[in-house]
Amino acid sequence: MTADGWVWASFGLLLVLLGARAWVVETGHATLGRTPVKVKVLTGACGVAVALVVGLVAANGGARLVYLVLHPEVAQALEDAENAADATTAPATPAPAEPAPQTAPPSVPASAPVTAPPSAPASAPPARPAAGP
């Protein structure tokens, strides 16, 4: 499993634990001033799962993102460098290929068989709107 997979798995585990805790809390009998042991155990497990998710996210890019957010000049420099690298690696001229087909007559939308530019628009261009109120 990849590192990203571990993050998603830990997040799924957290959701399962939160659901289990909700089930125990809502279906159990509440006693004023006391928290059932099951709820305490599940609360601790949820805390551990949250820590696991946060740690894995931090290790898989979260820490780097926080660093870039805190240092925008570094982030901008990295982005500029990446853009420059993309520009240099992009082909200067398009790869040769066969030209676009010109033999087939272009189809036109139905009921609009205009192939040459008319001297005037088919429908008169709308005039500038009159000054309204």
Partner: protein
């Protein structure tokens, strides 16, 4: 008097125990009642269905008890207070007879019979509105669109349909007993005749951006993989994938019908959410409907087109409705009893710090729902929050802010949902959208230039001819008036419930102002995310306004009759260049079909359905000719020069492009035709298709392009 909980009807528990929180304190009887204890079966009887009561028949306690004798349970101890006498069974003025229990509270007077005519007014008006819509479509002249937009070209039938829809709503609301199904139907008709008016009078979907989204869906359809390096919105692909799946599963060739009817349908769903929210926040039977109509009438923002944010707001409203409805904890005294509120007028108030501490340490009450229903609601709410993360960039932050506020003030049960929402967004952005923040970190950080965003959001939009400027000034005025009305509603809400949370809920999205990189549309989103709560508070203000003087209800009805035409004017203000014709669509599809993949197809300006397909297959640098970005400073000759520099293989020109230049950029009519003529005269381009202002220009010497990738998605 027994202490096992068995009480006589009309008796109160000692010391107020058992009274509902917030309810009036029990008033002890000044003189103990000498009434003897009634028969025991009267205390534990199970109330059956009410028996028919003949007029003039006086039901005594024995008679009432006798009616329930067959189901009386003698063997079980009495644990529940069950009145033996039906409330109001005895005449209110009749003196209690010795040996019979005291009469209960007087029954409410029977509701007056609803006149038969009331039953027919609303349906007739709704049907009339529907019947007028085809006439409205036939009498609207879309060719005459100008800077004033749709409102100017609508025929009388359209306005009559809108008036009938408003009348159907108002008449049913004024009915002595409003019927919920009829109100819901009238609301649907109102949405259709206002928000849905463009969908009715225009033959195909409007708005360029909805076709851009359709193009994204088209790109995801097939292999289900978003094309890389095309658009940042592909990093939140849930909406595109969802509709691509729908399209593939249904075997549809395109989504044109969906695009056309999406706005009225989604606004109706939003209005349903606002109604549900208002039922929780305002109560009553009429005010929630007014809130929904107010929301529809004030929603000029037009984020209801076929887009991820439209579905995102549906999910947001769902979660908010859960939080403020079934998950809401009942609001009780902030610091318990006694002390707050003061027990009597002369008592000093407790120190604020103590009230805060006690309030913070008081656990919230549980919602009065069975556990399994609560769990189901948690599940659905969590599902909505998880779905929001890959759906849209901004909406998850809006709901996180609102849920956090509600959690901090202890207003809903299930605060783990906040954790789910935060972690879902964090995990998705950092892991799922890693390519986004590694390559476009500048977008994430924002420029921080407040003035620039303000200028882009407001000042830069105040351009165009007189009609355009008038409409845009109205767009600025309406949110201001909305906020004023909502602040008045917040004051009313505070006086009634001592609660300022709703107005803060509407203000939470303003935190987005820190994200300046989102551009000018950010301000539209701020207004939109707060609009449901603002509409509800506005409805509260209007209710207080009408309650103080019933004659004002007529004034409010007139106001509603004015609000919706203004909505049509504002929403349709850009129609001159937002409208799309069937010819535009046919021309675009033909252009893509006749152009080899890899070619560069660009529109002259960012209007028309130019992006409805070919994303990832054809080269396209943005939404415009690359070197002609500052369009408002360009003449037709400048455009020609830009195009000759940029050398696109195919140039798409629409009638909406021409009209946009005229009404928004103050160019001379016929400027796009001048561009076409100049390009053809240069010898670099030839006309492949032309009809009116619509034109497709292709290079006379086509650029050699790379071979099409195998399996590349074709057109739709």
């Amino acid at each position: 008097m027994t202490t096992t909980g068995t009480r006589q009807p009309g008796e109160h528990p000692p010391g107020g125990a058992g009274a509902r929180a917030g309810g009036p304190a029990p008033t002890p009887s000044p003189t103990p009642s000498p009434t003897p204890r009634p028969p025991r079966e009267a205390e534990t009887a199970v109330i059956g269905p009410p028996a028919p009561h003949l007029p003039g028949q006086q039901a005594t306690g024995e008679q009432a008890a006798g009616e329930k004798l067959p189901v009386a349970r003698y063997a079980e101890p009495a644990t529940v207070v069950m009145p033996a006498l039906r409330p109001g069974a005895a005449p209110a003025g009749a003196p209690p007879t010795p040996g019979s229990p005291r009469p209960g509270p007087p029954a409410p007077p029977p509701a007056p019979p609803v006149p038969r005519r009331w039953r027919w007014y609303s349906p007739v008006l709704a049907l009339l509105a529907i019947a007028l819509l085809p006439v409205a479509a036939a009498t609207t002249d879309l060719d005459a669109l100008d800077g004033w937009g749709l409102a100017k070209v609508l025929g009388p039938a359209a306005w009559a349909a809108l008036a009938c829809a408003v009348g159907a709503c108002v008449v049913e609301l004024w009915s002595p007993r409003p019927r919920v199904p009829m109100l819901a139907t009238a609301t649907g008709v109102l949405v259709l005749c206002s928000t849905g008016l463009p969908s009715i009078v225009e033959p195909v979907a409007r708005f360029t951006t909805s076709y851009v989204i359709a193009g994204f869906v088209d790109a995801v359809a097939g292999d289900g993989v978003p094309p890389p390096g095309i658009d940042a919105r592909f990093f939140w692909p849930a909406f595109f994938a969802q509709w691509a799946w729908f399209r593939d599963a249904s075997g549809a060739a395109d989504l044109d019908v969906v695009l056309r009817w999406f706005p009225p349908v989604v606004v109706l769903v939003w209005a349903t959410g606002v109604y549900a929210l208002a039922r929780s926040m305002l109560g009553g039977t009429r005010a929630p409907w007014v809130a929904a109509w107010l929301f529809v009438g004030l929603n000029w923002i037009e984020q209801d087109y076929f887009s991820p944010q439209a579905v995102g707001i549906v999910l947001l409203l769902t979660v908010l409705t859960f939080a403020l409805g079934p998950l809401a904890t009942r609001r009780t005294d902030a610091a318990g009893v006694p002390g707050w509120p003061p027990p009597h007028s002369d008592a000093p108030r407790l120190p604020l710090l103590r009230r805060w501490i006690v309030a913070a340490m008081t656990p919230p009450n549980r919602p009065t729902l069975p556990p399994r229903q609560l769990l189901l609601i948690y599940f659905c709410a969590a599902l909505c929050l998880l779905a929001l993360a890959p759906e849209h960039q901004l909406t998850p932050f809006a709901i996180i802010g609102q849920l956090t506020l509600l959690a901090v003030v202890g207003r809903f049960r299930g605060r783990g949902l906040v954790l789910v929402a935060i972690l879902a967004v964090v995990v998705y952005i950092i892991i799922g959208a890693r390519d986004f923040w590694t390559s476009q970190i500048g977008l994430l950080l924002g420029s921080g230039d407040d003035g620039n965003a303000l200028e882009e959001g407001i000042a830069a939009r105040l351009a165009g001819d007189l009609g355009q400027i008038g409409v845009k000034l109205l767009r600025i005025a309406v949110p201001g008036l909305t906020w004023l009305l909502a602040i008045a509603g917040a004051w009313v809400y505070w006086r009634r419930r001592r609660d300022l949370v709703p107005i803060f809920l509407a203000a939470v999205p303003m935190a987005f102002a820190a994200v300046q990189s989102y551009g000018g549309e950010l301000f539209l989103r701020i207004v939109l995310y707060g609009l449901p709560v603002l509409a509800i508070l506005g409805a509260d203000a209007l209710r207080a306004f009408a309650r103080s003087n019933r004659g004002r209800e007529k004034l409010l009805a007139v106001g509603m009759l004015l609000l919706f035409p203004v909505l049509v004017l504002i929403r349709g203000g850009n129609e001159a260049y937002m409208v799309v014709t069937p010819e535009d669509i046919t021309m675009t599809r033909a252009a893509f079909a006749e152009t080899p993949p890899g070619s560069k197809i660009v529109p002259l300006d960012n209007t028309g359905p130019y992006a409805m397909q070919g994303v990832g297959t054809y080269e396209r640098e943005g939404d415009d000719v690359e070197s002609c970005k500052e369009r408002n400073k360009k003449t037709a000759s400048d455009y020609t020069r830009c195009i000759l520099d940029d050398e696109p293989d195919v140039l798409l020109i629409y009638t909406s492009t021409e009209k946009k230049g005229v009404v928004l950029d103050n160019r001379e009519p016929g400027w796009s035709r001048q561009v076409v003529d100049e390009l053809v005269a240069s010898g670099e381009y030839r006309v492949r298709y032309q009809n009116g202002f619509n034109a497709v220009l292709v290079k006379t010497t086509p650029t050699v392009v790379s071979a099409p990738p195998p399996g590349a998605p074709g057109g739709n």
